[in-house]
Amino acid sequence: MSLRVDGLRVYYRSLNGDVKAVDGATFEIADGEIMGLAGESGCGKSTLGKSLIRMDARMRFVEGRVELDGRELPIWDDRKMNAYRFTDVSIIPQYALSALNPTRKIGALATELLAARGIALDEVMQEFKRRLKLVGLPESVLERFPIELSGGMRQRVVMVLSSLLDPSLLIADEVTSALDVSTQRAVSELLVEFRDRGFVKSMIVITHDLSVLYQIADTILVMYAGKLAEKAPAETIIEAPVHPYTQLLLSSLPEVGIRYAEKRLSGIPGRPPSLLDPPSGCRFRTRCPFAWEQCGDEPAFKDLAPGHAAACWKAA
């Protein structure tokens, strides 16, 4: 098992109390697996991703156990995690493309990043250049400033930097959201290529776009309001989902070929619950067309078929 997460709870402190962003996550990712983490804004997917590498100081680790390649990750301790960041777990943060320091050339950026890890750029320079070439970037990119590169190029630079030390787990947080359609495809396929070439062992791809996940992920985990809703192989999630949220979400996505005049799609009425004071029972209850009294008790996230888990009374 490459990654194993057990009962993870991560909250955010706020003036009005704790925001229960991730409220009990249990799942596994095998070696070489690309897992897509999907859900709408506020569902906790970004928090879950960031908590595995402890990137955000505002997060409060409440409980849970995370094991990577058999070793427990000290995700409650910022300093202890330093030893694991970049080398075992790495992240391509959200908005990475706009987070590159505009006053630094790419080469200087890389040097500083690696120096902070205690690695001199010369040691990995060969590999760095090789990988840049692999992703279709010319060596001259090292002499350019971020502003001279297009969005797609910047995203690729960040991808190469994040995976330079061959981490076991790479977390890609909304890396394709701000890109154009053609670049989106190129970057997504690049993620798969990184896995195929062994630069990273497993990957968590966080996005709200299920169709991108269908293209590149092996399995998909759908989250709703801080809880896990359904996890299954990508093909199963798209073709035969069992959780009502997944079903409704999929049916609200327009695809090329579906036209309003012929088939009117519908969304999901209502809004996700507040995570400050979430309701008891199943959190999707108020918007679910299949809800009944049993849903007042929180359904457990458990396996319904080999490799297919969901948290729903109806599906069980």
Partner: protein, 304 residues
């Protein structure tokens, strides 16, 4: 109803304004009453610039934009106000469209002085209520609240309601749902479809082909400021002629088909050199291949 005639928008760039950036080149398009036209383009294609030019927020460098035959560049004062009573816009970021220090319904009261000064308090309330109901919003849910207390979907609908209050004829919708959640997107999109049947014309600006395909009657594909293909939605999506359109369609992530299985032939070796982001688009002419379906053709592009 609305016609753009070889419009150009040029910006001065570089130190002392020495260089030039052509954001929009010779774009011509039109939107009729009760028609949804999608303006599809990636970032840097100039689609938002076109939207702002139509809304008179930016000036056209060359060419002209006509609404019901009148050149909108000539409008001033009262005529401009009348124009804004016929043409309005909704933008991408619902939270940026509202001044955060005021309540959300201020977007309505802003209009009252200019356009509805003659109405009494109760008449105004009734109008407001019916406009909100037209966009499926419960007045009690949204009135009297601050923007941060409402959701993106509600805020966008309120902006549409604001446009409807004025009883507009044309709505410029610039990426209005791209910042909304998937579950609410389709509702706002359906709303546009419903309004279409009331005679409202919509210029739907987006980068998302599936949305354009879903909602529009006609489609315009824009690339680096130039129109490369235009036709009815069936024509453009069913029989894409321009290389760029085809490469776009081949890259759209679909839910039941993998990328490698999409059957759109691309000529081999055609990659976009994105190193030089400012290379000019090919100039050429729009050629009518079938009635209503035009494609830009030049020496460099190859079309079937």
């Amino acid at each position: 109803m609305l016609t753009l005639d070889t419009c150009c928008k040029t910006y001065r760039v570089g130190s002392f304004g020495g260089g030039e950036l052509q954001a929009v080149r010779n774009v011509s398009l039109d939107v009729g009453a009760g028609e949804v036209v999608s303006l599809i383009g990636e970032s840097g294609s100039g689609k938002s610039t076109i939207g702002k030019m139509i809304l008179r927020l930016l000036r056209v460098t060359r060419g002209n934009i006509r609404f019901e035959g009148t050149d909108i560049a000539t409008l001033g004062g009262k005529d401009l106000r009348t124009y804004y009573g016929d043409v309005q816009g909704v933008f991408q970021d619902p939270f940026s469209s509202y001044n955060p220090i005021f309540k959300a319904d201020r977007v309505f009261t802003l209009l009252r002085g200019e356009h509805f000064s003659g109405l009494s308090g109760s008449e105004w309330s009734t109008r407001l209520q019916s406009a909100l109901e037209d966009v499926s919003l419960n007045p009690g849910d949204v009135l009297g609240k601050y923007p941060h207390q409402l959701s993106g979907g509600q805020l966008q609908r309120m902006l549409i309601a604001r446009a409807l209050l004025l009883d507009i004829r044309l709505l410029v919708a610039d990426e209005i749902i791209s910042m909304l959640d998937a579950s609410t997107r389709i509702d706002v999109l359906n709303l546009l479809g419903d309004l279409k049947s009331r005679g409202l014309g919509v210029l739907f600006i987006t980068h998302d082909l599936s949305l354009g395909n879903y909602i529009s009657d006609r489609t315009v594909i824009l690339r680096r400021g130039s129109v490369v293909e235009v036709g009815t939605t069936e024509q453009v999506f069913g029989n894409p002629l321009h290389l760029y359109t085809r490469s776009l369609l081949a890259s759209v992530p679909q839910l039941h088909t993998k990328w490698k299985d999409i059957e759109i032939e691309l000529d081999p070796g055609t990659t976009d050199a994105d190193v030089d982001a400012w290379s000019p688009a090919d100039d050429g002419v729009l050629v009518e291949i079938e009635p209503g379906h035009l494609v830009r053709s030049s020496n460099q592009d190859r079309t079937s």
